[in-house]
Amino acid sequence: MNQRFIGFYDRITPESSSEEFKDTIMRKAENMKKTQNNTVRRPKNKLLIAAAAAVLTVGVGTAAFASGLIDFNRVFGNVITAENSAGAEQLVSGAEDFRYHVSDEDYIVIPKGVTGTEKSVVAAFEIARKDGAPFTDYLLYQPEETRLWSTFHSSADLDDIRSYSSGTDAFDISINENGNLSVIANYTASTDLTGRTIRIRCADLYEYMDLLYFVEENNVHNWFTEDIHATDSCTPCDAEFFTDGYNAVFTDTSDIVLHELDWIVEFVYSPSAAAASCLTADDISAGFTETAFIDNNERLELPCIVKRIDVNAIGVTLVYKWDMSAAPNISESELTSALDMDVQLITHDGERISTQFTFGSGEPDENGSYNNLVSMNIVDDNNNRIAVDLNDIAAISINDVEYTLS
């Protein structure tokens, strides 16, 4: 298959000559310059930019951000220069809309800062209770380059962010019945998606599940409706799509990622907030085995090194790394997880409670490599999501290896 695939692309070559191609580029570039010169820029939101810059000049990661919940050192790393750039302006201006549309009167959104470069910008906002107590943090970011991506595991297009910030009724935030943050994003685009309203409701965002992308990748071919009923799993993120009367429900975040709904709902759910109601496995020295597929679909039972196991009332987060020393002739890039892990919670009475895979991602480790990160929902026998009392939970079993939780 590979030979035919490669052979096919060998034959896909441009038809115009290099000279013609270059002439077209020069002409387009010239036209673009003329257009830009004739374009009136929006007035800058000087107040917000100034406030953001002032915060940043105090120093990221120091007392200026100490009251926030987010780990700004982790997020921003060494890229801490604030730029009064077009991208920054766009993001911080977007925060005004964001603030305006917060529906729950008990909470407020406070722009905290913007950082980055002309091409790669992050804006951070704190969501706080009205009495000033921080609740969680929110990030919008726009990396044109890949520099910030490795920190965030993701990226977003500036155009997407513009769509977000110029959309109507963009975000409503409230606290759901489980005490978790709920985001309802109503997007009625004035350009690409005229007449179509997409509503995405995110609830129960887990610790470290710090990004979700929602993008309607191709409304022409309507891809996301093709497989929309193919899944019946439950996840922490339910999305409802209303498309010209069509009402469908996404129940699987992996589907949302699969369909590239990278549509600017990026949440950093505060680790410190989540830590208050989270069990962890302290002894993770024992590894478990996971089934992976090699490129040729051959199965491989691969030992896994556990990095972290967290359990909260509604889900499990598992971070692990494949032990590639067990397969020295295989590159990690050739492997695909079978995603068939059997993860069960065990109560003090010995009762077993099921979980169901919901989200797979990666998390950079201290060596610049990547760990596998998977999230599970806690479910009943009918695969309906449930919440458990963490006081009842004693241990977790992963592919028949048990870990004590505390």
Partner: protein
């Protein structure tokens, strides 16, 4: 960037950009448009690239964004609706071109970057702005889809 540098980058990367755009757009007209726009962005960019490989990665990233934008745009929809004739197929039209045309862009693009350009999963994940797991998933599903299509062909 001056004209001479532009020349050099066109020689080096035009085919890569064109093929990647083709893997998304499935037709030569849009692939050519996207290629032009990607190189225009490069030409007017004030980026300081540390290496040639960075130029290539930057172009790939820009190309992906342009393709996504075009796929989303109402302009494309209008053009598709107004165009009476279907997009011209590759001159070497064969079953493989039909199979690749049948693949969703997110699969064909990842397959192209992995198998043809030889990028690693991590590199692709950075370029496409998706997780490594998502890249692996797309590779696996894309391969499976292609295999199934090819198997059907052999059975016929």
């Amino acid at each position: 960037m001056n004209g001479q540098e532009l020349d050099k980058h066109i020689q080096l990367y035009r085919s890569t950009v064109y093929r990647l755009a083709y893997s998304y757009m499935k037709n030569r007209e849009d692939a050519e448009d996207i290629s032009q726009d990607a190189f225009v962005k490069l030409y007017i960019s004030d980026e300081n690239f540390a290496s040639e490989e960075n130029v290539k990665a930057w172009l790939i990233r820009v190309t992906i964004n342009l393709c996504k934008n075009m796929l989303r745009s109402s302009q494309r929809k209008t053009r598709s609706e107004l165009t009476a004739e279907p997009h011209s197929p590759p001159p070497e039209h064969d079953s493989m071109s039909e199979y690749i045309a049948g693949l969703k862009p997110q699969y064909s693009a990842v397959l192209y970057l992995f198998y043809y350009e030889g990028y690693s999963v991590k590199e692709i994940s950075r370029m496409c702005g998706i997780s490594s797991v998502a890249v692996r998933t797309r590779l696996s599903r894309g391969r499976t889809m292609l295999k199934e299509m090819l198997l059907k062909e052999e059975l016929l």
